[in-house]
Subunit: 130 residues, 3 copies
């Protein structure tokens, strides 16, 4: 198990962490198995999708903003970040990716991204390879 920190820069952004997860897989010495990438946070998540055109990431943030608008939820009266919780609940706190030949078995157009919904903050990413 390894852990690293990502310092996010904006309120909402997707940060490509593929290389850092790949390095954790390499360091584990596991050649074939599964890799769990997990954020121990309730207003962030892990998304696997395209980052070759980074506009896909912007589109996803826009789409989630439309589905979960700001400021209209019960929890907003407590902490004013309810929409971030809703986005994190739906995208999920982690993803499990196969490992083959000692590397993440990602597709050509797949990147692993930390989804920040209530930044900027320091976010922990836990990687377990089995």
């Amino acid at each position: 198990m390894t852990e690293f920190t990502v310092r996010t820069r904006r309120t909402r952004e997707l940060v490509d962490i593929t290389d850092r997860v790949q390095e954790a897989v390499r360091a584990s010495g596991v050649r074939e198995g599964i890799c769990c990438v997990y954020v121990p946070h309730a207003t962030a998540g892990v998304v696997v999708n395209e980052n070759d055109d980074p506009q896909v990431c912007e589109d996803l943030l826009d789409a989630l903003a439309k589905l979960f608008p700001d400021g209209v939820w019960r929890h907003d009266r407590v902490d004013n970040n309810a929409s971030a919780h809703l986005k994190a609940a739906v995208t999920g706190p982690g993803q499990v990716i196969p490992v083959a030949d000692g590397r993440l078995a990602l597709g050509r157009w797949q990147a692993v991204m930390l989804a920040e919904f209530d930044g900027p903050r320091d976010r922990r990413v836990i990687v377990v390879v089995r």
Copy 2:
């Protein structure tokens, strides 16, 4: 592998099962690895998010009710619970959480919750630790 049952009380609710999953991790004897929490149902799911303010759970149920309204789907003519299937499909039947020092590596604001979308019912929860 262990399994327990949750008796839900309402049509839609999130039931905090963190302690029961934590106990399954402890009983497994695994000190470091991953924990898969899974519900073998098509109208329920597993969500990881905040329960310190339980209004976050109510907000999530409200948000999903808006995105997947009742009574307007093909399957409603068969079983009248299509929206519950749609919510379960999107939240997913399970989550995988890292285990460290013999405990779930949850964040300060994360709880593990059974998401009931078509209750009240008895729901099975399967926990595998590896």
Copy 3:
């Protein structure tokens, strides 16, 4: 680890792959553990839900089409398939399912389905059992 290919037939469809995943679990020889089903694609996903009434699948495709309409995103100017990326990002590239007695511990109403959002194409499905 095993891999198989699914040839999808329509732009959007759910293809039931339960039997092929079940066969991969059997061939692995693992009696108790977890099974990771993963698609290395950015416009497809894996969904676990009901297929006894296949209208549930049609309802899910309709629901996702409403939430993520075609043709209104930045990435559409590059590749005209942004909505497929958004659907894949939200449903997720994989699912983890417990294995008991050498078989997937699916519920009575659960099927494992490849979710095609930008077909028809040949899609790879990777199965890892641990």
